[in-house]
């Protein structure tokens, strides 16, 4: 594996992205808006009372952590994978002695650094104004980081194998749109999973979308039992392995199907 080459690619992609920070800040702002809307909806609804055991300030804590986790795990670069396959610009990546996934990972890591320079200050300002409440325990604090990393890997590889379906269908990006919609509904953005109607809650706990965003947020902000914590981590690992297998199968089959359009 060409790790040194991959590291240089990440570094220079980051340098390239830093040339246009305003564009990426605007993108990040756009992605934050839905989360902020739900923050204010629940903030208003929970004024002077608790909903599902959560106070107004606990909702603030939940949604501010959600905004950060969502930005950190959102794989915006998967949207360009299908375009590269469709317009043939994948050709250059395929003839280099480095796996094409490094190019996507490079953009992903570079993007995270640029976006977070915008998102963290915004979250800090909102925290100063709205006074979030968090009650993390030692175990939840320790498990937050692994759950966040697993969430990012799961969201990335799940989106990546879907994007690779562009080898067969030119409009694979529609599937990424479906993934985003299901994440919106079942990953704890509309409401924390515990507040969803019971049938929807059962579905959300089984499907991968909660484990892409909502679960790390719950680890830090909710009072999950030890069993719930480790069940959640097991689901993350299982879905990650599934998405890795799907990625490998689709990538291998897709290369043989690739038509390398364009010059």
């Amino acid at each position: 594996m060409n790790l040194r080459g991959g590291w240089f690619l990440i570094k220079h992609t980051w340098m390239s992205w830093l040339q246009q920070p305003i564009f990426f800040f605007l993108l990040a702002f756009g992605w934050m808006i839905p989360t902020l809307i739900y923050l204010f909806v629940w903030y208003t609804a929970a004024a002077g009372k608790t909903i599902g055991g959560m106070t107004q300030h606990e909702f603030v804590g939940y949604y501010l952590v959600f905004a950060l986790v969502s930005q950190l795990t959102y794989s915006q670069t998967n949207w360009t994978v299908g375009d590269r396959i469709r317009d043939g610009s994948l050709n250059f990546q395929l003839v280099r002695p480095i796996s094409p996934i490094f190019h996507t990972v490079a953009a992903e890591v570079a993007g995270k650094v640029v976006y977070m320079t915008f998102v963290i200050p915004i979250a800090c300002i909102l925290a100063l104004v709205l006074h979030p409440e968090l009650h993390p325990t030692l175990s939840s604090s320790l498990l937050f980081l692994p759950s966040l990393i697993l969430a990012w890997l799961l969201r990335f590889f799940w989106g990546y194998w879907l994007a690779l379906l562009a080898f067969w269908t030119t409009r694979a990006n529609a599937l990424l749109g479906v993934q985003d919609s299901l994440t919106f509904l079942l990953a704890g953005q509309v409401a924390p999973i515990a507040l969803l109607p019971s049938p929807l809650q059962s579905i959300a706990r089984v499907l991968p979308f909660r484990y892409m965003v909502g679960f790390p947020v719950e680890v830090l902000t909710s009072h999950l039992s030890t069993v719930e914590l480790f069940t959640g981590l097991a689901y993350q690992v299982a879905w990650l392995l599934t998405s890795l297998i799907l990625f490998i199968v689709v990538w291998r089959a897709g290369q043989q199907h690739y038509t390398a359009v364009g010059g």
């Binding site: 690619l9 050709n91 003839v95 002695p97 290369q255």
Partner: protein, 368 residues
């Protein structure tokens, strides 16, 4: 013959493409009953190229040149046939193979758009494991050859097309690839830049002994760089040999340029030429004639005997005319087939890895 660097045997590629009639009804029907058509982009072509050769791929648009190049570079899996490039099966895309090849597309960019090219070159150096001292030396050499010192610190998006092409060439060559696939590399470049490019490629070939396949619609590129050409049309190989021989063998006629004495022309303004001779141009005492190949000696003798000739030149027709004529042909057995089963080295290349695949195809190396 030296050991072949590229060996292609019975290579074919068929694409399955969706198709439908024009109009709304057909577009609605295609939602549940999509029709497909098989398009044979490359049909059973065979050839071999020795290390250090520069070969031009000729053919009209859609002939199968780029598809062939993409199979040779490992971008496409073939439908049938075998290929070895530098001893590797290209579509396995082993890192050791990708380290040895380079592909340049005239209309696509591989350098990062927003940063200066020097940063992109550093990334390429790391991807191709070029030690820093070698990278600096190679970079100095290429920058010198292409005279592009002033471009190194500017963001790529601010460069002109020709300047970007220089950057593409440096990015493609700084790890000293042994096999180069150049697909329309001079597309959109001005005459001066085209000339500089040709000189550069010839120099690279001379210095590093690289094997080069070049496709270009500019015949000047082919004439300047490629002693050997492979002509493909409708996916089939039409000709494999020297460009000069192609012109000599296949041009149906030669061009005779003659100047007759002014005095004679003033007295006899309308000249009568032997049968079969076509007047292409006439101005004053100068005549340009097209003469069938077989009749050239007799016509020339007749002209010298019958007219007071001041100057007579016999030329091949422009290469574009010859090539255009080749494009009109259908594949014919006397041009493409009936060759031996390949040299011993070629057979050895396939024997190593292809158990159960017959090695009986047509191999076309060298001139014919």
């Amino acid at each position: 013959m030296s050991i072949p660097q590229i060996v292609v045997r019975n290579l074919s590629k068929t694409y399955r493409v969706p198709e439908r009639e024009a109009g709304l009804i057909a577009s609605i029907q295609s939602l549940w009953a999509r029709k497909y058509r098989n398009v044979e982009a490359v049909r059973d072509i065979s050839f071999s190229i020795a290390a250090g050769e520069i070969v031009g791929f000729l053919g009209p648009n859609g002939a199968g040149k780029t598809t062939t190049l993409k199979m040779l570079s490992g971008l496409l899996y073939p439908t049938a046939g075998e290929v070895r490039v530098a001893g590797f099966v290209p579509w396995k895309r082993e890192p050791a193979y990708l380290q040895r090849i380079s592909m340049v597309f005239g209309n696509k960019s591989q350098v990062l758009w927003d940063i200066p090219p020097k940063d992109s070159f550093r990334v390429m150096g790391e991807i191709y494991h070029v030690p820093l001292c070698n990278l600096s030396r190679m970079l100095d050499e290429l920058v010198e050859l292409l005279d592009m010192h002033a471009l190194l610190a500017k963001p790529v998006r601010t460069l002109s097309l020709g300047e970007r092409m220089k950057c593409e060439l440096v990015a493609a060559l700084l790890y000293q690839p042994k096999v180069l696939f150049l697909d329309e590399p001079t597309l959109g470049l001005d005459l001066s830049m085209q000339q500089r490019f040709r000189h550069f490629i010839a120099e690279y070939n001379r210095l590093y002994g690289a094997t080069i396949i070049l496709t270009s619609h500019y015949m000047a590129d082919i004439v300047a760089l490629c002693p050997r050409v492979i002509v493909i049309n409708h996916g089939s190989l039409l000709y494999d040999g020297s460009l000069q021989k192609l012109a000599c063998q296949l041009a149906p006629s030669k061009v005779l340029r003659l100047i007759i004495s002014d005095e004679y022309t003033q007295v006899n303004p309308d000249l009568t030429f032997p049968t079969g001779v076509e007047v292409l141009a006439h101005e004053g005492a100068s005549w340009t004639l097209s003469v069938p190949q077989a009749k050239v000696p007799t016509v020339a003798a007749s002209l010298l005997n019958n007219f007071p000739i001041v100057d007579l030149a016999i030329e091949d027709p422009p290469i574009e005319t010859v090539v255009n004529q080749v494009y009109q042909w259908s594949p014919s057995p006397h041009l493409t087939g009936g060759i031996d089963a390949g040299t011993q080295e070629e057979q050895e290349l396939f024997r190593n890895e292809n158990v159960g695949v017959p090695v009986t195809g047509n191999s076309q190396g060298g001139e014919r």
